[in-house]
Symmetry: C2
Subunit: 110 residues, 2 copies
DNA sequence: TCGTCACTTGGCGATATTACCAAATAAGCA
DNA sequence: TGCTTATTTGGTAATATCGCCAAGTGACGA
């Protein structure tokens, strides 16, 4: 098995893993609209600030977002602008699932 | 916090989580080219067949792939054709990271 | 019907993720 | 310099994921 290819899948998986959490998706979504400091994101997400800070570190580690210190606050912004385009595709997965589920329910009713 | 919105992020995260594993990415990539039975995918991934079977179940559970039994074999195929488009975007993340890393190295050399 | 092949499921140990609290750091102000 | 605010980091318990082996299921040919 080609090691170079394996490394590439590892690298991709690391990026997807960083995205694969509801709070982090919420953060990315918000940052796609405007930059935000940690306090604002914490308020939005509704977890402890330390938890949100760790989510932000996770996203920053894979290069999806970046931070900029201004005074005592740290502002985060989205670097990779194409990420939100994912969601359309994911939505189509979810809708397909919903349709399938509905048709199963229909079958049971009949 | 809007519960409906939270549910939506949960649902999206479930789909991304299903994708976020090197072996599963390899499988999706392969299935984007052609349908494959479990034995073929097992050979390609290089893990135990039971492991691959569980990866396939994970992908099937979120509706990304589907299975079709033919005789004693089970063929899997990609349902959501837009998934491979993700990779272009992810690649851009990785390349941006690589550039950043290189420039850091350059700075250290100087 | 028995055995085999292709696959899935159960179980389990090893490892990773997550969230919280508490403590550390860093900046700005009194 | 000491205090407060904003954020990160360390520690830890609860939970989830992963991969293997062993056992179960289902189709098919002998």
């Amino acid at each position: 098995m080609n090691q170079k290819l394996k490394d590439q899948y590892d690298a991709r998986a690391r990026v997807l893993k960083a995205l694969a959490h509801p709070s982090r998706l919420m953060i990315v979504d918000e940052l796609s609209r405007q930059e935000r400091c940690v306090a604002e994101l914490t308020e939005m997400v509704g977890s402890d600030m330390s938890t949100v800070s760790k989510h932000l570190a996770t996203l920053k580690n894979v290069g999806i977002i970046r931070d900029e210190k201004r005074g005592s606050q740290v502002y985060y912004s989205l670097v990779v602008r194409c990420i939100p385009n994912f969601f359309g595709c994911i939505e189509s997965v979810l809708q397909a699932n919903a349709r399938q589920y509905l048709s199963l329910v229909e079958l049971k009713i009949k």
